[in-house]
């Protein structure tokens, strides 16, 4: 058959596309259960990291089951609602109208008392960023933080997921003395702010840093009623 004829070209393209689609679809189907499991373990690892518990892929599930005391969902009004906190997809929640958003809470028992883990989600420069912040039972002081991202620039924005950045959050406060929510300022060099509400941003990663700052403010505002009701 003439390799330059239209018929040949069409046939070739169609067969190639169908073949490739079939291969990719079946590989994806076959590997899906394993991938889902990996994502769950990763999530448990990250939640544990936010309460300063080290774990790896093999220990995360057991440690999580051992340390978690309670998982529940609250609404903007701070009231508990029905649902599975662990499987709540923040991506879907954040797409809803503000008054309908649901906020999962994980309670952990540690050697230093009960800690409340709040999952967060926002946008960085190239894509979503997310994280977990754990609070002491005064519902104000940060006990630990863990951040991650989909595709921030390595060496710049991606530094938000390093422990050097995350450890800055320990001991910072969400509310000021009068009980107003101020959240945390992720500061550029020279930016002023009260020390207990401020961490250093990442040089060369300003948009990611500011995205993280917005994520903290937005999501803590959503949790505000819940946090105040627990105080």
């Amino acid at each position: 058959m003439d390799r330059n004829s239209n018929t040949y070209t069409f046939l070739y393209a169609s067969i190639m596309v169908i073949l490739v689609a079939a291969i990719l679809a079946s590989v994806s189907m076959a590997l899906k259960p394993r991938q889902k499991k990996n994502f769950e373990i990763e999530k448990k690892k990250n939640i544990l990291a936010s309460v300063n518990i080290e774990s790896d892929a093999s220990t995360a599930e057991d440690l999580y089951a051992e340390k978690v005391v309670d998982e529940y969902i609250v609404n903007v009004g701070g009231k508990k609602v029905e649902g599975n906190a662990f499987d709540t997809d923040l991506k879907k929640e954040r797409a809803k109208a503000a008054k309908d958003m649901l906020y999962p809470v994980f309670e952990f028992k540690t050697d230093e008392g009960t800690k409340y883990v709040l999952p967060l989600r926002g946008s960085g420069l190239w894509g979503p960023i997310w994280g977990y912040i754990s609070l002491n039972d005064d519902m104000n002081t940060i006990y630990g933080a863990n951040f991650d991202h989909e595709g921030e620039t390595p060496g710049l924005g991606a530094e938000i997921s390093t422990s050097a950045f995350e450890e800055q959050f320990i001991g910072k406060k969400l509310f000021d003395d009068s009980g107003e929510l101020v959240s945390i300022l992720v500061a550029k060099v020279g930016e002023m702010g009260a020390e207990e509400h401020k961490v250093d941003g990442i040089s060369g990663g300003t948009i990611t840093s500011k995205g993280l700052q917005n994520m903290l403010l937005d999501d803590f505002s959503g949790y505000e009623a819940f946090l105040k009701s627990k105080k």
Binding site: A57, P154, G155, G204
Partner: protein, 214 residues
């Protein structure tokens, strides 16, 4: 095939891209990714390995198909082959070595857009046998990887004072700690990657006069 597998001509396919026809410094392909991932040594190495995994495979596949591909849609066919391979690699990494997949994240996608791969498929694999194409793929990804690692080495060392995440320049040297040294912030930004690549090209041409155009 009449000639031996590792004939002189075939070995040249492996060694040439390391010097005389280096994809970055001579063919000026793959600059975009060389710029994006070299702020640190680790992603540079990871990217070099990923490209080495994909390019020879894509080269061989295209070379096997070369006598059937309709001329008018050959670029599309190349793209489909590369994209399919990259997605396969990504899926397998996600299922079996999740940690590695987390580290690679954006790089996996970047492989698809890497001009070196398209460039080699178009320039070499379409007109040569699978074995030669395989060697060409290995050679070119090695040539690409070497430059990436050199650039990553200098950018991380001078920009952050670390190598592969480990501190090389002692903390006590820094002005902040009463010393005399300060990291060069410009090294972390992308323009510096181009300047470092430029310096490498300069050094290479100085040593290898045959590369200098009249």
């Amino acid at each position: 095939m009449s000639e031996p597998l590792f004939s002189k001509k075939n070995l040249k396919l492996l060694s040439d891209p390391l010097n005389n026809s280096n994809p970055i410094t001579v063919q000026v392909l793959g600059i975009c990714s060389a710029l994006a991932v070299t702020a640190q040594l680790k992603p540079s190495i990871v990217m070099a390995i990923s490209v080495t995994a994909v390019l020879p495979l894509a080269n061989v596949l295209i070379s096997l198909l070369r006598n059937t591909i309709p001329n008018r849609i050959r670029i599309i066919v190349q793209l489909v082959v590369i994209a399919a391979l990259v997605i396969l690699v990504d899926q397998i990494l996600k299922a079996y070595v999740f940690d590695v997949s987390r580290q690679l994240s954006v790089f996996v996608g970047l492989i698809i857009t890497n001009c070196i791969i398209m460039g080699r498929l178009e320039a070499f694999a379409l007109g040569n046998r699978p074995w030669q194409s395989f060697l060409d793929g290995i050679g070119n990804s090695a040539g690409y990887g070497v430059i990436l690692i050199i650039v990553g080495f200098f950018r991380e060392l001078l920009g952050a004072g670390t190598l592969y995440g480990y501190r090389v320049i002692p903390e006590s040297w820094y002005i902040a700690n009463g010393g005399f040294y300060e990291n060069n912030g410009l090294m972390v930004l992308s323009p510096m990657a181009l300047i470092v690549v430029g310096i490498i090209i300069w050094v290479q041409r100085n040593k290898n006069r045959s590369l200098i155009e009249n």
